[in-house]
């Protein structure tokens, strides 16, 4: 096990990158703690798989170093890095039994047969496959096969990290939940460093201690699920996390007031003068329809999702969503929307601006 350090790391698929746009992965500096559960979250093409392949050694970064603990592994081959990886689609050795599949990484490393036997038994118990240990892997269902892949990833105790590349894509929804819970349990039991790539925010938020949100080849925020929700560091995080995402409105900010569409919106903090495109961001959860104060909203549609209702509308021509708690009355006279001041974030050119005391 080891702490993973990414030093000045960047990667370009073109041989002679000239501009920033040529880089699939823009320069980054990160330290990932030993034993942490990290999720790499982002939409397709944001560079999360590139980053994972660099860590696993399938790709050599065009600049920067990768360190496992104190050891520089930038030029080390995958096999030397002592990592495990679980792929998007189940990778099992068809002609082997489940037991042989689980034992394979240990046997190849010449471990003691008695140890292998005990270890395979323990892993089979954790993934709930003791009963099928002696069956051929070929005839099993996709989720059973993916469980074997997970088990093979887990079976070595001394791995530096276990990497998951969207491992639950092929799994049924109800099995997804179960496997995710098992993964979480395995993380608690064994304490491996785990890196989990996904584009599904629910998966990321439930699995990880720290979620790394990537956008356009950059890590835009690395934080706990709560931090991502309350204080998104970038408008992309606000938009990507949450359902529906954060509302954004162009504004002029002076001190602790924002000028939005000619109206005054009080803010929870005071801001120094801001240059660049200024926006305020507010989560739909912290908005409320009102008949007396706030900004005018045109309501297009109301979706009842059971627990709460999502009001979809427009404010000054921008799409705007409000979440109303169950039972709250929505009247025809409620044509204004007001915000909780302390929940408003201010963005300059898409990046969050830290406010001071009022």
């Amino acid at each position: 096990m080891a702490q993973i350090t990414l030093k000045n790391l960047a990667h370009s698929y073109s041989a002679t990158p000239t501009s920033d746009a040529d880089f699939a992965l823009k320069q980054m500096d990160h330290v990932w703690q030993d034993g942490g559960a990290y999720a790499l979250l982002g939409s397709s093409g944001c560079g999360k798989t590139t980053l994972l392949n660099i860590i696993s050694g399938l790709l050599r970064p065009s600049q920067g170093r990768v360190l496992f603990g104190d050891r520089d592994v930038t030029d080390a081959a995958t096999a030397e890095r002592n990592i495990a990886q679980v792929f998007q689609f189940p990778v099992v050795y068809d002609t082997m039994t489940v037991r042989e599949n689980l034992a394979f990484p240990l046997r190849n490393r010449g471990m003691d047969p008695a140890y292998i036997k005990a270890r395979v038994q323990a892993i089979a118990q954790t993934i709930g496959m003791e009963a099928t240990l002696d069956r051929k892997a070929r005839g099993l269902t996709a989720d059973a096969k993916q469980k074997i892949s997970l088990g093979r990833g887990m079976v070595r105790e001394d791995v530096n990290a276990i990497l998951f590349d969207e491992p639950l894509t092929v799994i049924d929804p109800h099995m997804k939940w179960e496997l995710r819970t098992q993964l979480k349990q395995l993380h608690r039991d064994f304490g491996h460093t785990m890196i989990y790539v996904t584009h599904d925010q629910t998966e990321a938020l439930t699995f990880a201690d720290k979620v790394v949100v990537m956008y356009d080849g950059r890590v835009v925020q690395m934080g706990t699920p709560e931090e991502l929700f309350e204080t998104p560091a970038h408008t992309f995080v606000g938009y990507f996390i949450g359902s529906p995402g954060m509302n954004l409105l162009d504004a002029n900010v002076t001190g602790n007031t924002a000028q939005v569409l000619g109206a005054q919106v009080p803010l929870g903090a005071a801001y120094a003068p801001i240059s660049g495109r200024t926006q305020i961001g507010i989560r739909p959860e912290y908005c409320e329809l009102s008949a007396t104060e706030g900004l005018p909203i045109t309501i297009r549609r109301i979706e009842d999702v059971g627990r709460h209702r999502i009001i979809r509308g427009e404010v000054g021509g921008n799409a705007f969503n409000v979440i109303a708690p169950e039972g709250a009355a929505i009247g025809a006279d409620q044509t204004l929307v007001r915000f909780a001041p302390e929940r408003i974030n201010v963005y300059a050119d898409d990046w969050r601006v830290q406010g001071g005391a009022v």
């Binding site: 096999a79 068809d94 190849n108």
Partner: protein
């Protein structure tokens, strides 16, 4: 709920039945007719029952030809299948050289059989052939026209040259269908090269290998044109395979009855062996699934 009985679908296969009847079944029936009759031409037939069959089953000449045929097919399979797999494993996976190799490999398959025989016949001649003359020049006593072993070696090498590509191309297709993740996983598991072959590549190729083995068995068991052009079955009878012998008997000696009886048995042998191959390999497959 009762299923609607509608057997009209059978009519859809009627065209195929008619076509197959004229192209295979009816001609085969004339062979059956010859096999149970004796004839001296001018459409006079004398009933002979199973006489020809009994004669052929007891015939030493046929036993010898069958023995040579089995040996030949065994040698061909033993060489071409492993060699084809080996070639497929070492072919480039993508880029210009992959296409180049594919075209190169396909070339022997596109040459007509009698041309293949002629190419090798000239290539191996000791007076003017590139191979034969070179071998003679370096002092190797090689002459496929009067040494049985040399003739056999020449025919086997010719067949390997002609048909290994087929096995290789089929295996190559099987290998190309393996997702990259398998190789990555094997690397992470520190699997040896042998393990990668044994547990990833071979199982994924088993389907196409079954086809390759079947095709190569059937083709080699029925081989006629190439050895006929190359050696004409000689020296002596040493490369007279079943089909060559059959043609000698039917067209050379006009022993139509025995030849017909024998071709029916020949057909049944091929059918039987192919069926055994297929059944054994598919049941092995099914057992592994359980």
């Amino acid at each position: 709920m009762d299923k609607t009985q509608n057997n009209k679908a059978w009519f859809l296969i009627l065209p195929v039945l008619i076509l197959v009847a004229f192209s295979a079944v009816i001609p085969l029936m004339t062979v059956v007719n010859y096999s149970v009759n004796d004839t001296f031409g001018s459409n006079d037939f004398f009933w002979n029952g199973l006489g020809w069959f009994e004669e052929m089953i007891a015939s030493d000449r046929m036993h010898a030809a069958l023995g040579r045929q089995v040996l030949f097919s065994a040698i061909i399979l033993a060489i071409e299948v492993p060699l084809g797999i080996f070639v497929a494993l070492n072919m480039p996976k993508k880029g210009f050289w992959a296409s180049f190799c594919l075209v190169l490999m396909a070339l022997p398959l596109l040459i007509p059989f009698n041309v293949v025989g002629t190419i090798w016949q000239i290539f191996c001649r000791i007076d003017i052939g590139l191979l034969g003359h070179s071998l003679a020049a370096i002092g190797i006593d090689y002459n496929y026209t009067n040494d049985a072993l040399d003739a056999w070696i020449t025919i086997v090498v010719m067949d390997v040259w002609h048909w290994t590509s087929l096995v290789a191309l089929l295996c190559y297709a099987g290998l190309q269908s393996i997702p990259q993740a398998y190789y990555q996983a094997a690397k992470i598991d520190q699997a040896s090269r042998w393990s990668v072959f044994r547990y990833i590549e071979l199982p994924k190729m088993s389907g196409v290998l079954l086809i390759a083995v079947l095709l190569r068995f059937m083709d080699s068991f029925m081989i006629y044109t190439e050895p006929f052009v190359l050696t004409g079955g000689g020296p002596g009878n040493s490369t007279t395979f079943l089909s060559i012998d059959l043609v000698k008997m039917a067209v050379g000696q006009f022993d139509l009855g025995p030849a017909a009886a024998f071709s029916i048995m020949y057909f049944l042998v091929i059918l039987l062996v192919s069926w055994v191959f297929y059944t054994v390999m598919t049941t092995l497959d099914a057992q592994e699934t359980k």
